[in-house]
Amino acid sequence: MIRILKTVKDKVVEFLRLSDEVARSNAVETIETEVEELDNIFGVLVLGSYVGMPSPPMQISLDLMPFMEKELILMMEKVDTASQPLSQLFSVLDMG
């Protein structure tokens, strides 16, 4: 009996932990998308010359480049989704 109660208690704790995690994830989803957009803007601003955009003085880009692999990859990925801004927005707002 005690074993059954312990199992039930563990399940309830696990359920609550997961619910908390999901709630926290949902709460920051929009901010995460916003950060991703800001990261992309930062990448385009600094490494714009790599994709043919106006860029800051070359030495500023070159000095930051070794620390910006993530932004560089994100910038390239964004090129693929750039033509479908509406579907991206629906996905952020969890619609459809």
Binding site: A27, L38, V46, P57, M58, I60, L62, D63, P66, F67
Partner: protein
């Protein structure tokens, strides 16, 4: 600074030789790709200054080698921090980047910083400047870069703030990793602020304008005066070569009236070789020394 052919290199050589004769330790460096100092001192010069007279060392900056070394260093850092495939994709980008506008003046800035640190204990560092356009870009680089760096810094801080918020809510963490990009931008800001302060502080950098009695030289000198003023850099002295008798810089334009002049009397013989420079200075000792004392 001054228009091409007005005698910047000869004036810099005379000025440096004169200071060395007075007992100061002087480093004369040519930032001009034309590299006239090796012709004036009749010897091959390089990035490593050599002693040409007691207390006087002369060198010439090879821009290309500074650009190559800088790009090699960036490439090395990228190879160390990037995953293999991303680094591989950047190869094509790097093969053309050495021809990018802006790297020329940055190479001069790197050489300037290196020499300023290495010879910080010396009395005078005299720089023979390149043609006007490149010289102005050299002086403008710190201010222009700071506009970008401050903007990037604000954006990066916004990103970090939001990232910290996400980490706090999702993972309940209170300690965060230092952002390497933010560190680098702050480092850049410090570097450009030090440079801008060095260029605008007359106790650290004194800009001499060399000019000739012809309309083109006058027009370019005026443009230099106004461009430097926009960058908050004041002209320290003018050197009016081949000056007509009874004419001063103030006659060219009233803006030059308040700037003291350091003029070298016209030489009968070409000023080539350190002995010739010393001989000229001895022959014109009174006039040159009295004007140097104004500095």
């Amino acid at each position: 600074m001054g228009k091409g052919g007005v005698g910047k290199s000869t004036s810099a050589a005379l000025f440096s030789t004169s200071l060395a004769q007075k007992g100061y330790h002087v480093l004369l460096v040519s930032l001009d790709p034309a590299h006239n100092q090796s012709d004036i001192f009749e010897r091959a010069l390089s990035d490593e200054p050599v002693e040409v007279a007691p207390r006087l060392r002369v060198g010439e900056i090879d821009e290309d080698s500074w650009i190559r070394a800088y790009l090699k260093d960036v490439r090395r850092q990228i190879n160390r921090t990037y995953s293999y495939l991303t680094a591989f994709n950047l190869d094509k980008y790097f093969s053309v980047i050495k021809h990018s506008p802006g790297l020329e003046e940055y190479a001069l800035i790197l050489a300037y910083e290196h020499l300023r640190n290495k010879y910080s204990g010396w009395d005078y560092l005299v720089f023979d400047m390149p043609p006007t356009a490149l010289s102005l870009k050299f002086f403008a680089l710190p201010s222009l870069s700071l506009v970008w760096v401050n903007h990037l810094l604000a954006l990066r801080r916004e990103i970090i703030e939001k990232r910290e918020l996400i980490t706090k809510i999702k993972l309940l963490k209170k300690e965060f990793e230092r952002d390497k990009v933010l560190n680098k931008i702050q480092e850049q800001r410090e570097q450009y602020e030090v440079l801008r302060e060095a260029f605008t502080n007359p106790e650290k950098t004194q800009v001499y304008l060399v000019l000739n009695p012809d309309k083109l030289s006058h027009a370019e000198s005026l443009r230099i005066f106004h461009s430097l003023k926009e960058l908050d850099i004041r002209l320290y002295r003018t050197i009016y070569n081949k000056r007509p008798v009874n004419e001063t810089c103030a006659d060219i334009d009233p803006v030059f009236a308040d700037i003291p002049s350091l003029n070298f009397p016209l030489s009968d013989t070409p000023l080539i070789g350190v002995q010739q420079l010393q001989r000229y200075l001895q022959a014109n000792d009174g006039e040159v020394q009295s004007r140097l004392n104004v500095c």
